[in-house]
């Protein structure tokens, strides 16, 4: 038994993003993403407890999702969060994945505004300040990053010349504190990046048509909410018509069960048992189902695989078995 299991583990390593401890702080923050009404189900609480692995005090993490965060957890998150930006820390694979998110978003924006690339030539002193290689005008895109965690994506989005502004939200104070502290290390982010301690529901919903964000991102979020379809309905008003909703998640397959649940939790025990709620993983066709008939189009799917030594690679068809990005445009 052990021999074949190891073999499978090796073969499946490409899909083992859920094994990465670095994802845990981000997941932890997600448990607070929704207001009590949306997260009252016991299973969410279970997910919450399991996303905060602490070898020293596993029981201290059993807390209510909705209460204010207890001191133990604050210190625990702070410890985890401190590693968020370590190049060889537990979030390394998330850092490595981040550029691929931008490649997808760039492809989306290029598709939605082919005409805008030639217009709007800023009068900056730079000789080539019109979005350059991207073809996207400078300071034109607004982002909302839901469940921003330590800010890996939010910071990178704010640095792009084409970005007008990034609003990044997360409901966990300690995690958001890390994000804010880290953003202070880069003066270029000032004025372009705003962190908010809030849930989606507390965000003001755009009233007029044409308001909202050009790009709303849900990275490593959707599989941790109880009712993804309802959640996506709540997110929809935040997206500007013609704007994009971009997500990343993991498919619910025998492979992801093997890598994230059986191997990570039960065999290798690098993740406390119960961390992953495999039942909440979402397959690409299910995601399509949630969004069907609700005013989305131009769906794009990119399957990605982590290859040790090479990094994340786009692999056609891998969205059916493991990690994938999913983007749709609001009609």
């Amino acid at each position: 038994m052990p021999a074949p299991t190891r073999a499978v583990a090796a073969a499946a390593s490409g899909f083992s993003r859920r094994l990465v401890p670095g994802l845990r702080p981000q997941l932890a923050s997600l448990s607070h993403l929704l207001p009590p009404t949306a997260t009252a189900a016991p299973s969410t609480a279970a997910a919450t407890t399991t996303t905060t692995p602490s070898p020293t005090s596993p029981t201290s993490r059993c807390h209510s999702t909705f209460s204010s965060v207890n001191p133990n957890e604050v210190s625990h998150f702070t410890a985890l969060a401190a590693e968020w930006w370590e190049p060889h820390g537990s979030s390394r694979l998330l850092h490595l994945m981040n550029p691929l998110r931008h490649d997808l978003i760039r492809a989306c924006l290029a598709e939605s505004s082919p005409a805008s690339s030639s217009s709007s030539s800023p009068s900056s002193s730079s000789s080539s300040s019109t979005g350059t290689s991207t073809g996207i005008p400078d300071a034109s895109i607004t982002y909302l990053d839901i469940g921003c965690g330590g800010g890996i994506f939010a910071e990178s989005a704010a640095r792009l010349p084409s970005t007008k502004h990034v609003t990044a939200i997360d409901p966990t104070p300690s995690v958001l504190a890390v994000a804010k502290a880290h953003a202070r290390k880069d003066p270029s982010l000032a004025g372009k990046l705003t962190y908010k301690l809030t849930s989606v529901e507390q965000l003001p919903v755009p009233t007029a048509d044409g308001e909202g964000y050009d790009v709303v991102t849900l990275f490593e979020v959707i599989e941790h909410v109880d009712d993804p379809a309802a959640f996506l309905d709540r997110v929809r008003p935040l997206v500007k018509p013609g704007g994009w909703l971009v997500m990343s998640t993991i498919a619910r397959t025998w492979m992801s069960w093997l890598t994230t649940n059986l191997i990570a939790e039960d065999i290798l025990r690098i993740v406390p048992p119960g961390t992953h709620d495999w039942n909440k993983y979402i397959n690409e066709d299910e995601l399509r189902g949630f969004l069907a008939g609700k005013g989305w189009d131009s769906a794009k799917v990119v399957g990605v695989v982590y290859v040790p030594g090479l990094g994340w690679r786009e692999v056609k068809g891998s969205e059916k078995v493991g990690n994938y990005f999913f983007a749709v445009r609001k009609v």
Partner: protein, 493 residues
């Protein structure tokens, strides 16, 4: 076998660090600033060192549309206006020359610097003659029919370093957007402070003696073999001294080469004391790079011109025994050569034309070293060129390695910028280190082994190395392979 890849003596003379004032490296150790006046100017890239590597980095960053909006600064101890106004009559050449591979020349062209160089002062060559001074085993390099034929079959271009740097400076001026602090001594490098608005405690801050301070998202050390930036980053550089000095000089020859003006040849002879090389410059001129013992180097520097000329001619013609004797003379090499040449058999067209003059003031020497930094990157730190690696000049790869570093680093920075990464973080810089470290390591190892192989005067290595040269010479395809390596067109190591 790999020995034949490296063929040219590189005139990577006069270590820049020498002109950079020896400073106590301890003052560059990491230290936390305690001042509370955080009025630093904030830059994306601050490059210390205005040599070929540093200047081409800034040129490339400015020429690239993705990186052109970065705020960049150059700090250089010397007066760059003197470099920029480099101008010599066609009968004079600086003794600091480099061989540029076609790959390097192409890169300089891509970033728009090549057209700013004085083309009439650059000499390409199409052939190389390399031979063993002990056995006379020889390998001749010229392009075989059917081999890589573009770029006019140029093996390499000989150019004065000043021609390169002045061309780069003109290109930088044309592009604009680089804050140049020349004539500027670096007083110290510290870390920044935390203020109400920002936290720059992980940002290197370069303090100039003028009182100006520059905070760097990425601090690039293009500051030579004794790199203060490397010391600040706490990166070790390991290696050894060869116990050899490189002697350089600008030579005048009896003619413009056996192949005439349009078919120039580079010559290199491996002597037991080290390789001696003569690389063609335009017209009747050539540049000498002679790696030899410090004692011999001292002698060469103080000989009267006619005796120095005789000793250089002897170095390409006489036996190592004769040559060793002539090094014991304090004068009279001129007569000695005339007498000994009569008793030495050699093909006059297989060696360079006779040297008839040495440009006044062009004889100089510098110690040869092998150094390799443990890593090229740190948090908000990147090392390029000699700051990262110092190589034996016998393959003429020093400057080319640095240009390879720049191409890779700019590509890395471009990727980071295009994907919103903080370009200074170690994670963003990883691909630069992984791409260049192994490549430089292989090349440096080959040059080092070549030097050691040909330092042996007797024993079983001698016939073996000669056999290697002769066998390689007989095999056309093999030679083409070696030449493509030497000219940077081969497999990218």
């Amino acid at each position: 076998m790999a020995s034949n890849r490296a063929l040219l003596a590189s005139p990577r003379f006069v270590c820049r660090s020498c002109s950079r004032q020896a400073r106590s490296s301890s003052s560059y150790r990491r230290s936390y600033a305690t001042t509370s006046s955080p009025s630093h100017d904030i830059y994306d890239v601050v490059c210390i060192g205005g040599g070929p590597a540093g200047l081409s980095l800034l040129t490339a960053l400015r020429a690239n549309p993705t990186t052109s909006r970065l705020r960049v600064a150059l700090i250089e101890a010397q007066d760059l206006s003197k470099t920029a106004s480099f101008s010599l009559p066609p009968t004079q050449f600086s003794n600091r020359c480099s061989s540029l591979t076609p790959t390097t020349a192409q890169f300089l062209n891509t970033i728009g610097a090549w057209p700013h160089m004085k083309r009439s002062r650059i000499q390409e060559f199409h052939e190389m003659q390399v031979w063993d001074g002990v056995t006379d085993a020889r390998i001749e390099f010229d392009w075989q029919p059917g081999s890589y034929a573009s770029q006019g079959n140029v093996i390499a271009y000989m150019a004065e370093n000043l021609n390169i740097t002045s061309g780069l400076l003109r290109r930088i001026k044309e592009l604009g957007g680089v804050d140049v602090f020349d004539n500027s001594r670096v007083e110290k490098i510290t870390f920044g402070e935390e203020t109400e608005d920002f936290d720059l405690r992980e940002w290197p801050v370069v303090h100039l003696q003028s009182g100006k301070s520059l905070a760097a998202r990425l601090l690039v050390g293009a500051d030579g073999a004794n790199s203060p930036v490397r010391a600040f980053a706490g990166i070790e550089s390991r290696g050894w001294d060869y116990g050899r000095h490189g002697v350089v000089a600008t030579l005048e020859l009896e003619g413009d080469g056996w192949g005439g003006e349009y078919r120039k040849t580079a010559y290199q002879r491996f002597l037991p004391t080290g390789p001696v090389a003569m690389l063609p410059l335009p017209g009747n001129y050539a540049t000498l790079v002679w790696s030899t013992t410090p004692a011999n180097a001292a002698l060469l520097k103080k000989l009267a011109p006619k005796d120095l000329i005789a000793l250089i001619n002897a170095a390409f013609r006489l036996s190592p025994v004769d040559l060793a004797y002539m090094h014991t003379q304090s004068t009279g090499q001129d007569d000695e050569l005339a007498w000994r040449t009569q008793h030495t058999h050699f093909d006059p067209e297989a060696v360079p034309q006779m040297v008839v003059g040495v440009q006044e003031g062009s004889v100089a020497s510098f110690p040869l070293k092998f150094r390799h930094a443990d890593t090229y990157i740190g948090e908000r730190i990147a090392l390029v060129g000699d700051a990262a690696h110092t190589v034996h000049p016998l393959a003429g790869q020093g400057l080319n390695q640095g240009q390879g570093d720049i191409q890779s680093l700019v590509k890395t920075i471009e990727y980071a910028v295009a994907h919103g990464q903080d370009l200074g973080t170690q994670m963003s810089l990883e691909s630069y280190n992984s791409e260049r470290y192994a490549a430089n390591h292989v090349l440096m190892g080959v040059c080092d082994k070549l030097h050691k192989l040909y330092s042996v005067e007797s024993g079983p290595l001698i016939p073996l190395r000669s056999l290697g040269l002769k066998a390689a010479n007989a095999l056309g395809p093999l030679k083409s392979f070696f030449m493509e390596q030497a000219s940077g067109r081969g497999l990218r190591v």
